[in-house]
Symmetry: C2
Subunit: 408 residues, 2 copies
């Protein structure tokens, strides 16, 4: 019959299994970061290729497609590994469901590229397709962060997700700004949308700063070239700082090049984030294994000590050993509770994104909107009311009770 | 290479594995309910046996011990099953850690009974030992409720946990009241403690009513004998309604008998709760398996359709099949999100208990209190300030930031 000590060890083994799961997820997140970066570059090159009617970046685009394929293979290999590794993983249903969406998107990439090559798509259509695929990849990272059971690893994943999401907003800003400068004019709605992309980026990087490890923050700081940042701010001010009106079309190329330098610098921070995450997982696994070993040794000592008849003949353990066993149990309970508390605190930061997702779902169900339309409607409300997206989302959710046709 | 459809199916299989896990947990919770009831009776009989210096209930106590042993065997068998079934279970570390505490308590039962039989313990010491063991068993049920991934099953488990916890407060009220009447007097502190037990019960049963299925609520309503309830209220008023003072010691036996009738009636409701939980699990598993079958058939049809060259030669699927696949993906994503939202809402009710546990842990760490002392300190604060336990706990947690020596 199973004993208390064996469950104490089983609890520890569960922790180790969860940590090993997280280490695998960490590898996947790293591979996704590389693929997202490759897709962001491909999106940018495709945009310029399409808007120049095929005259610019034709060669670079093809080269980038080849790089993308390599990154894609690595992500697919990680997916394969995920599938065979665990059908019982925490949060498995949601993670796998997100992976299915990504694979569907990746399967459609060849067709998307053919249509770009033959210039059958507008710049806008191509952008939407790439944005969607990247959003699907980031959703996988989000589920990974949301399912982590170790607070330190959860912090690292939250920092990583927010950095990746912020970088993607920067990528969208690159495309949006390049388009705006290229057309030679910007209207008030365009300025608002641009500002929104800047604010969304800042929100993400703020969370990143709150959760990232000190060493990662140092690398991030070092990656910020002051000259580049100052020039980015100057061009933003030219486009969005004054009244709507004409823009110098010649600035399009230098804007594009500047943002590309900034985004490539971010990529190097992502590598450090991924490395930090891997070290953290290795360290936590080694620590948990060591603790398991110590605990097993202590339980063995307790068990062999219990073979001596104690001062109280009827007791399974003598009073001294009894106290040691109780100590082990209490220590484990306290540790797990402290971990749970810290985890709840870290996860709370993920709830903002969840509120936006929920509000989107609500609009899709009640207003028969597509996902894209629902997001735009929320963003429009946020811009009109000059409020944060999450505040608008929460207002929409608060209204949910009075909307008709809502199931219980 | 793994495909999107295979991950869609893997996501569904994850759900089924989680549901099967929950069904096993449901069986365990049922067995725990039976053991808790048997221990509650044994505690009551032991109390009367000890306070009558061995003259009353000696035979009944031994009979009850035998019944308890049977119930204990069933719980241990369920624990064995749990251990072998899954080392990757969601929340496994916490659940297993709780189980280790329970097994440690069960291993000490033989010694506890010997000391009761030889009257080496006070009534109070015996009560504390049984209360602790039962609290450990209820903590296992709490972890089960907290780890459920299906909203309907989570609701049923939350209802069940609160019913069991309410029943345990009723058991403690039985013991406290019997003792108070037997001593022939009650002071103000005793009255306050009694009222606290009544309020705690009512809080639990309120949550039970909010979450239980309509059929279970009907059974619960039918189990409430109005004559018994009226008499319980009358005796409560005699003891706690007026000023502190003398009590009729003759009322001890009838109080004990009344509460026993009420608690035994609750036991029958618990059986219905367990049955309802089992049916729910079976139904959800059958449903998920059916959906998996349908989904697989639809994906097979899509795949065979895709073998025909579609109107667009380069597409993996034709436009019609493409829409079906997207529909499947979106439907799954929406369903999982709706489930996640509902689950968050159900789980929020468990957070009150978590706040109390956290506040207790804080007091233990900063005031060098034992768990029992920490709980009493919280309860005393609640009574002094005439506030709910959870409000006091949250006030303590809010103070945590300014307490010295708190790690980050």
């Amino acid at each position: 019959m199973t004993s208390g000590p064996s469950f104490l060890l089983a609890a520890r083994q569960c922790e180790i299994a969860e940590l090993e799961d997280l280490a695998r997820t960490g590898e996947l997140v790293g591979a996704i970061g590389r693929l997202v970066h490759a897709l962001q570059r491909e999106r940018g090159l495709s945009n310029v290729f399409l808007s120049s009617h095929g005259s610019r970046f034709a060669g670079q685009r093809l080269q980038q497609v080849a790089e993308c394929r390599l990154a894609e293979q690595q992500v697919r290999a990680q997916f394969d590994h995920l599938d065979t590794a665990s059908s019982q993983a925490r949060n498995g249903a949601r993670l796998f469901s997100r992976v299915a969406v990504v694979l569907h998107g990746l399967d459609g990439l060849a067709q998307l590229r053919d249509r770009v090559a033959s210039q059958q798509l507008s710049t806008r259509e191509a952008t939407v397709a790439y944005v969607k695929l990247i959003a699907g990849l980031l959703a996988v990272v989000f589920e990974a962060a949301d399912s982590a059971t170790d607070p330190a690893i959860s912090r690292a994943l939250v920092a990583m997700f927010n950095f990746m999401q912020g970088k993607e907003f920067a990528g969208q800003e690159r495309a949006f700004g390049a388009g705006a400068f290229a057309t030679g004019a910007i209207d008030a709605a365009g300025q608002q949308q641009w500002r929104h992309l800047v604010e969304s980026q800042q929100g993400c990087f703020q969370v990143f700063c709150d959760f990232a490890d000190a060493e990662v923050l140092r690398v991030d700081q070092a990656s910020r070239d002051p000259a580049v940042l100052a020039e980015v701010e100057r061009l933003r001010r030219i486009a969005c700082g004054g009244r709507p009106g004409l823009l110098d079309a010649n600035l399009s190329a230098s804007w594009y090049e500047l943002l590309t330098r900034r985004i490539d610098a971010m990529r190097s921070v992502e590598d450090v984030l991924a490395l930090h995450l891997r070290h953290l997982c290795e360290q936590r696994i080694a620590q948990a294994r060591g603790e398991l070993r110590d605990q097993r040794a202590m339980l063995d000592a307790l068990a062999s000590g219990a073979l001596d008849p104690g001062p109280e003949g009827t007791a399974a353990y003598g009073p001294h050993l009894e106290r040691s066993m109780l100590g082990l149990l209490q220590e484990q309970a306290c540790r797990l509770q402290a971990m749970g508390d810290e985890l709840d605190a870290v996860r709370a930061t993920l709830n903002e994104r969840k509120a936006v997702e929920r509000a989107k779902g609500l609009l899709m169900a009640h207003r028969q909107m597509s996902e894209d339309e629902a997001y735009k409607a929320l963003r429009q409300m946020a811009m009109n009311q000059n409020r944060r997206l999450v505040d608008v989302a929460e207002a929409v959710l608060a209204l949910a009770e009075v909307l008709p046709g809502r199931g219980r």
